[in-house]
Symmetry: C2
């Protein structure tokens, strides 16, 4: 059983440290009329303030609370694969913050960012699930707004093979400075920086900065087809591939139920989708793909193998509700690779 | 969409007002070894203090938070049946208290008990789910300890056809006074009092008081086979039936997957179990049986019909995870009674 502060030991090399928005998800079933009445666009993520969060929550049905946050989900995945993972993100010193911290530490992810005291509450994402199984997300960033450069533990970044960041960090104002600080520390220490583009709307919000980021700071880029096309303002996958090739060491582009392609230098690795008997909930597919890929990368695996690990982890998470693995991924991978 | 304070209107008659321990459930998968290490008895509910709650939570895996509380689950059921329901219970003025309040009000249950400020946090029940689908419960009563006679809204009791209480209320010290106050108000107003025996261990803890209660205050008694046998210290169902008959107006005894028997005066009504294609999680079966029964009773239905309503509601809640209905029970009942 891991200790309550995760499995971190100060003198050991970590596989991945993730930096992201620390969020608790609030899931409820919803009718289309609720979305319409509130001007929500189905299947998208919108940022909302505290008042709007209160107003939407009051209209939602009975709900279930589950820890989320894209990079936090990925770190839970790395730990489940047997990797050494840490997380940096800002919760408040409140009950949802305790829930978030518990759920990471108990799976073995080191998480020691100081919680915010006396400010905004822990962030939450209101997830409305309509009968067509689509999810419409409304995120109140709360305490995440306060994540800043002072929260970046230099020693932690230095001893992590990869520092992994989410594009969503560009939404709260101070987090991008934290992001850049972390990336510079990693670069100077000869470590790698990875980035997920997070969401096509997030790409639209921060496109110019993301382009520069990919060019100057990012070694490993994760994006789905929509995100990479939004970044380069092209319509076809091949044009996006042409645009991103050579901009960073590795670009892994996920293609939903059609697998993924991994670009390394002049080479392109096509990764088949991992078959699943039943897709229950696609939430977390990208997060767990990144988990598998990064774990493989940190352990020196070839790009094709990294992609395969990503595909296996993504397949596990879409076969049940929720965005974090429900079985021991190290055992699952061992079984799959043996087959 | 109901208002954020439920569907209560001060001048209307209510079907049921429920009084209970207001609890948020924290579910996580667990190994048998976790139970053994902590001396937990599988399938039972134990009361724990704050320190023990912290220690157990730290050892639990990633969890899901869902509003619970036996009588609160029942009130959600009554509202879903189209009944007018209210709830009295003590949460703290904290995030889990907000979650609990939201989840009741949004389904139309009036809930206006003043939350506790500056004391213990909202109660939680740590639910460890082992691979054999058994649930082992550890309840930290938190703010529930402060529920007392002052929380009993006299007007609310007077205008409710039935006041429904849980045996678990005998665990926090002041709640029993609240219980007795409510029961006396109901009696004086010509209203009915219903009681659930809650749990065989709860019966053992408070047996003498429960016997007197049934004799003097309770009109409608809910118990399962184990609870009623524990109350009368007998081993066979028929002996318990003989012991309880005539002690209160109605005794509804649930027999798990073998249906239920309802005793009214000299008559015994046998209620068949409602068939379900798949039992996923039996949590809440008793709570929803009571919901269906009480709704029927408040609407003047015959005992056999009340039992059938209970069976239909219980069947719904065991066909999915969680202890509250996931579909509109009024529509489900209309469909079932038509078939």
């Amino acid at each position: 059983m891991p200790s309550s502060h995760g499995g971190d030991k100060p003198d050991e090399t970590l596989d991945v440290v993730g930096i992201g928005n620390a969020i608790v998800d609030v899931f409820a079933q919803a009718d289309d009329s609720l979305l319409d009445k509130n001007g929500l666009i189905k299947g998208t993520m919108a940022l909302i303030d505290a008042d709007r969060a209160r107003a939407l929550y009051a209209q939602m049905g009975q709900a279930v609370e589950v820890s989320g946050g894209s990079v936090a989900n990925s770190m839970a995945g790395v730990a489940s694969l047997g990797g050494r993972a840490a997380y940096i993100g800002k919760v408040a010193a409140d009950q949802l913050g305790e829930v978030f911290s518990h759920d990471l530490r108990t799976v073995g992810v080191a998480f020691d960012t100081r919680p915010l005291v006396g400010g905004a509450p822990t962030a939450r994402c209101l997830v409305m699930v309509t009968s067509d199984a689509q999810r419409t997300l409304n995120t109140f960033l709360g305490a995440c707004i306060e994540l800043g450069p002072n929260d970046i533990d230099e020693a932690l970044i230095k001893r992590s093979k990869v520092t992994y960041l989410e594009g969503y960090l560009w939404d709260p104002p101070a987090a991008k400075e934290a992001f850049l600080k972390a990336s510079r520390i990693a670069q100077k220490a000869g470590r790698k920086t990875a980035l997920s583009l997070s969401d096509p709307f997030c790409v639209q919000r921060h496109r110019t900065e993301f382009l520069e980021l990919v060019e100057r700071h990012v070694d490993i880029l994760f994006a789905n087809e929509h995100e990479i096309c939004a970044l380069y303002q092209v319509e076809r996958l091949e044009d996006a591939m042409a645009a991103v090739r050579g901009r960073c060491e590795v670009a892994a582009i996920t293609l939903s139920d059609k697998g993924s392609v991994v670009l390394v230098g002049d080479e392109t690795f096509a990764i088949a989708v991992e078959p699943v008997s039943r897709v229950l909930d696609t939430t977390g597919a990208g997060d767990l793909y990144a988990a598998g890929f990064l774990y493989g990368y940190a352990r020196g695996r070839a790009p094709g193998h990294c992609g395969r690990l990503g595909a296996i982890c993504a397949a596990e998470v879409i076969s049940h509700y929720g965005a974090r693995p429900e079985c021991a991924l190290d055992e699952l991978v061992a079984r799959k690779l043996r087959d």
